[in-house]
Symmetry: C2
Subunit: 183 residues, 2 copies
Amino acid sequence: MARTTPQTHGEILAAAARRFAATGYRGTSLQDIATEVGCSKAAVLYHFAHKEAILTELMAPAIEVLRSLDSRIAGQPEPAAAQQVAAEGFVDLAVRFRSEIALLRGEYPELLQQPGFAHIQQISERLIDALAGRSERASDRITALVLLAGIAETCGQFADVSDRELGDALLALLRRALQPPTR
Amino acid sequence: MARTTPQTHGEILAAAARRFAATGYRGTSLQDIATEVGCSKAAVLYHFAHKEAILTELMAPAIEVLRSLDSRIAGQPEPAAAQQVAAEGFVDLAVRFRSEIALLRGEYPELLQQPGFAHIQQISERLIDALAGRSERASDRITALVLLAGIAETCGQFADVSDRELGDALLALLRRALQPPTR
DNA sequence: CACTAATCTGACCGATCGGTCAGCCTCTGA
DNA sequence: TCAGAGGCTGACCGATCGGTCAGATTAGTG
């Protein structure tokens, strides 16, 4: 039967977020989402053109913040300043959107190649470059990549930690781990 | 036609390693592997009981080393010593088996729940505990988990870096990032 | 009332997946 | 020479996937 109120769109989004977080994007079928909402799979595809569109809409706010961080970093001519902006901005992003980031669950490589996410990869590279203090040394780039990937991969697991505490811990970790760019 | 030499088993393993590294475990079908080898899908399933058996055999050496590291850590009564053993052992493991670790590519959660890998999760938890200096503080556990996940997730991407250089960089990162357990 | 547009359903589609099976080669040893 | 074992193939299976489609139901509007 048709819903009395047309709020199904939002319910689908919420259900998809729960399922993606539990079993990943690829591990969640449209039928899973439909079952959780209590509607048919066809209803899900009535509200969203395809499966990827659900993910795109879920990630939109986080991507918008990531974009603005990217341009803020680009505006820093000094490597040390860019590094600090990148560290603080990324930690803030990871903490605020940890549930959104978590639901990607290691499926970045495939998902980032889809048309809607092509630019994310370039932003990530610039973020790593800034975190590495714009250094070309292998050890600096390894450090930056390990920290970025580690935070992205784990931030969703600390649901029981407050934003404040998680952010402080991550920022302190970055400060300890990142070499000052000039030395 | 039948192969003149029965070396197909090894060829399948090598092909599977390449495909898993390129597109992940779930992203690789038995047909993909068969095509790369140049045999039929049925031939793959003649040499391996099921798809998971290929992965199990590929990971066996790394898992064996991980196990021995786990027991070495367990034999350290002092948190500081356990932390050092865990850091050095894990870096050595990540560097030596980086290609094997890489081919899991973020599919840990699902794969570790399969029967053949059940104990890996417990070992991981003990490893994190040791890296965190056996501390209960949230910040220590966050640090340990971020570093562990970051290294596991990225070590396969540094194919152009020598074992020595990668190991030194990772170990230096761990030393900088890990708080001394007593303070 | 009639008409329209939005919402939703069940049935269906083609593709792909991991896995099974009967049987065909080829080699080896008695 | 021939039986048997190891190695392998093509055809096939049931399940599941994302996605399509015609039509039913509902709510709003004149």
